[in-house]
C-alpha cells in the first residue's frame, strides 16, 4: 500500500524543478547532481509503485481528502504504475546521455524543464480525473515547448512555434470535449464516467458521442495518428536529440489515454457509442503505419528517419489498441514499452551520428565518423528493434499484435508485414549510406571526437532494457495479460474510487 507515496512522482519533480530554477540557476554541476538524484529517486519510487500495484488492487489518493467524484483523485493501478516506471527509466537514460554529451550546457534551464516535463508526464499517467488529465497535459506540453527549442536556432524555433500552435489548438479541442462531456454526464472523474457512460439516457447518446469523438481527436493529436500526425516529423527532427528521445514517451501519453478511455470508459459494450472508437482507431492506425514506413524509406535526413520510425511505431501501437480485446490490449502494452525504448534509443544514436558528422543528410556519403564501429553496431541493434526483426523485442511485440488481431488477419496482417519490409529497407539504406559508403570516401585525417563514455552507457542501457524485455518476454506478457484483464473489467478500479452519490 502506497498511501501518500502516490503523489510523490508529481511532487518530487515539481519541487526539485523549482529548486533548480530558484537556487542553482548558475551552477550546472549542482543542477546535474540534483536533477539526476531526483530522477533516480523517482525511478526507485516508481519501482515500489509497480510492485504495490502488482500485489494490491488499485489504490486511490484523494487530493485534499475530498471524496470522489467531487474532488480530484490520483489512481495507482497496474497501467499507471507501468507507465510511470517506463517514464522514469527512460528519463534516467536520457539524462545520463544529456550529461555525457553536454547538451544541457547548450542552453539554459534544461534540468528544470526536464523535471517539470517528468512532473507532467507522471501526473498524466496517475490522474483519475479527466479535467486533471488536461491540466497535466498542459504541464507536460509547456515544459516540452521549452525543451524543444533548447539550444535555439532558426529552424528549431520555427518548428517550435508550429508545434506550440498545433498543441494549443489540440488543447482548445480538449476543453470543448471536456465541456461537452461534463454537460452530458455531469462528472469528470474517470471511474464515475465509466459508470455513467453505461447508463446514459438515450436522448443524450448523440451529444456523448460528439464528446467522445472530440476527446479521441485530441488523443490522436498527441499520439500522432493520421491525419493528425503532421506536427511530429518536423518537431522531432528539429528538437535536440535527447529531447526527441524523451518525447518518445509523450506520444505514448496519447496511446495511454486511448487505452484508458477506450477500454475502461467507453468499451464496445457501451450502448451510446458501440464500436465507434474501434472504427475510428483501426483505419487511422493502418494509415499511420503505412505513412510512417514510407517516411522511413523516403527520409532525406537521419533525424527525419527516426521521426517517421516513431510515427510507424505509433501506427502499430494503435492497430493493436483498436482490437479492444484483452489479448489485443496486452499486446499493445508490450509493444508500447518496446517502442518507447526502441524509439528513444534510435533518437539518441542519431544524435551521436549528427554530432560527429557535418550534416545528417542521407543523399551523400561523408568520411567515416569517430567511434564508427561502435555507433554502427548500436544503430544496427536499434534498427532491428524498430523494424521488428528477431531476435529483439520488436519481433515479439509484432508477433503478439498479429496473434491478437487474428480475426482481422486479412486486413491487418498484410499491412503490418508489408510495412515491416519497407522499414527494413529504409533502415538498411540509411545505415549503408552513413556507415558503409563512408569508407569509400577516403578521410583526409582520422576523425576525432571525445568518446563521451556516458552517452554510450545511456544508449546501452536502453538497448539492455529491450534485451530484458525480450529475454523475459514470458513473465512480462503474463503481467501485461493481467493488466489488460483488469482494464477490461474495471470493477476494482471503480470500487477503489469509493464514489459518493450527490445528495
Amino acid at each position: 500500500m502506497m498511501s501518500h507515496w502516490i503523489i510523490a512522482p508529481v511532487m518530487l519533480p515539481a519541487v526539485v524543478g523549482a529548486l533548480i530554477v530558484l537556487l542553482m540557476r548558475n551552477d550546472l554541476m549542482l543542477q546535474r547532481v540534483f536533477s539526476l538524484g531526483a530522477t533516480i529517486v523517482l525511478a526507485a519510487i516508481s519501482l515500489a509503485m509497480l510492485y504495490a500495484a502488482t500485489v494490491h488492487p488499485p489504490e486511490v489518493y484523494f487530493l485534499g481528502n475530498w471524496p470522489a467524484p467531487f474532488g480530484i483523485v490520483l489512481v495507482l493501478d497496474r497501467l499507471s504504475a507501468l507507465m510511470v516506471a517506463l517514464t522514469a527509466f527512460l528519463a534516467l537514460c536520457v539524462q545520463l546521455y544529456v550529461i555525457g554529451t553536454d547538451w544541457d550546457a547548450r542552453g539554459r534551464h534544461f534540468h528544470a524543464l526536464f523535471q517539470f516535463q517528468l512532473m507532467g508526464i507522471s501526473g498524466a499517467f496517475l490522474t483519475g480525473d479527466a479535467f486533471n488529465l488536461f491540466v497535466f497535459f498542459e504541464v507536460l506540453l509547456i515544459a516540452s515547448y521549452g525543451l524543444m527549442i533548447h539550444g535555439g536556432g532558426k529552424n528549431r524555433l520555427r518548428a517550435g512555434v508550429q508545434y506550440v500552435a498545433f498543441n494549443l489548438l489540440g488543447s482548445s479541442l480538449f476543453l470543448f470535449g471536456l465541456g461537452t462531456l461534463y454537460a452530458v454526464t455531469g462528472t469528470l472523474n474517470i471511474a464515475d464516467l465509466a459508470v455513467k457512460a453505461q447508463v446514459l439516457p438515450e436522448g443524450d447518446a448523440a451529444l456523448f458521442r460528439v464528446a467522445v469523438v472530440m476527446l479521441f481527436l485530441v488523443f490522436a493529436i498527441k499520439g500522432a495518428l493520421v491525419p493528425l500526425q503532421f506536427w511530429l516529423p518536423g518537431t522531432y527532427a528539429n528538437a535536440p536529440g535527447p529531447v526527441a528521445a524523451l518525447f518518445a514517451v509523450m506520444t505514448k501519453v496519447g496511446a495511454y489515454a486511448v487505452i484508458r478511455f477506450g477500454v475502461m470508459v467507453v468499451p464496445a459494450t457501451t450502448p451510446a457509442t458501440g464500436g465507434l472508437v474501434a472504427d475510428m482507431v483501426l483505419p487511422a492506425g493502418l494509415l499511420t503505419l503505412v505513412l510512417g514506413a514510407l517516411g522511413v524509406l523516403g527520409a532525406g535526413t537521419l533525424s527525419r528517419l527516426a521521426a517517421f520510425a516513431a510515427v510507424a511505431s505509433m501506427g502499430t501501437l494503435f492497430i493493436a489498441i483498436s482490437g479492444f480485446t484483452p489479448a489485443a490490449t496486452s499486446a499493445a502494452l508490450y509493444y508500447m514499452v518496446h517502442s518507447t525504448l526502441a524509439g528513444a534509443a534510435l533518437f539518441l544514436i542519431v544524435d551521436l551520428v549528427i554530432d560527429r558528422r557535418a550534416h545528417d543528410g542521407l543523399h551523400a556519403a561523408l568520411p567515416p565518423i569517430a567511434q564508427s564501429g561502435l555507433i554502427a553496431g548500436l544503430f544496427l541493434a536499434s534498427a532491428i528493434a524498430s523494424a521488428g526483426m528477431p531476435p529483439l523485442s520488436g519481433f515479439i511485440g509484432k508477433l503478439l499484435v498479429l496473434d491478437a488481431l487474428r480475426d482481422q488477419a486479412g486486413l491487418v496482417w498484410p499491412v503490418i508485414l508489408g510495412t515491416s519490409l519497407i522499414v527494413i529497407l529504409g533502415f538498411a539504406r540509411a545505415g549503408s549510406t552513413v556507415f558503409w559508403k563512408a569508407h569509400a570516401s577516403a578521410p583526409l585525417e582520422a576523425p576525432r571526437h571525445p568518446p563521451e563514455a556516458l552517452s554510450f552507457v545511456a544508449v546501452g542501457a536502453l538497448l539492455a532494457g529491450l534485451t530484458v524485455l525480450t529475454v523475459f518476454a514470458g513473465p512480462v506478457t503474463a503481467w501485461m495479460d493481467a493488466t489488460a484483464a483488469s482494464l477490461h473489467d474495471p470493477a476494482a478500479y471503480i470500487a477503489a474510487n469509493n464514489l459518493q452519490k450527490a445528495r
Binding site: L157, R158, V161, A165, L168, F176, G179, A237, H359, H363
Partner: protein, 122 residues
C-alpha cells in the same frame, strides 16, 4: 440568451479558426486567443445557462447554478493565458532569428543542416 451565447460562440470559433489558418504568426496567435475565449464561454455554458440562481446550497433556493464549470473555466483561463505568453515569446524569437514571421517551413527548412559545400541561405 441561449441563441446569443450560441451565436457568440460560433462567431468566435469561426473567426479563430480562420485566423489560425493564416501563414503569419501574429494572426495565428490572435486566432488562438479568440478560440480560447470561445472555449471559456463554452465551458461556462456546459453547466447550463441560468440567471440569478445561487451556486451554494441554501434552504430556500428554487434552483442552482452549477459551480464546477466556474472552477474549470478559471483553470482554463490561467492555462490559455500562460500558453499565449509562451507562444508570443517563441514567435518573437523565431521572428528575430529568421527575419520574418512566416509560420510555415519552406522546403529544406526541415533539414537540421545544409549539405556541406552546398551551404548557402535557404
Amino acid at each position: 440568451m441561449e441563441a446569443l451565447v450560441a451565436s457568440a460562440l460560433g462567431l468566435l470559433t469561426a473567426a479563430g479558426t480562420y485566423l489560425m489558418l493564416r501563414l503569419r504568426t501574429f494572426p495565428m496567435i490572435v486566432g488562438l486567443t479568440l478560440l480560447s475565449y470561445a472555449v471559456n464561454v463554452f465551458i461556462f455554458a456546459a453547466g447550463r445557462l441560468v440567471t440569478g440562481m445561487p451556486p451554494i446550497i441554501t434552504k430556500d433556493a428554487i434552483g442552482y447554478a452549477d459551480p464546477l464549470p466556474q472552477a474549470l473555466v478559471l483553470t482554463a483561463i490561467v492555462i490559455s493565458f500562460g500558453m499565449t505568453a509562451v507562444i508570443v515569446m517563441m514567435a518573437l524569437g523565431a521572428f528575430l532569428e529568421a527575419g520574418d514571421d512566416r509560420a510555415d517551413m519552406t522546403e529544406g527548412d526541415g533539414q537540421a543542416d545544409k549539405p556541406s559545400g552546398g551551404g548557402g541561405a535557404p
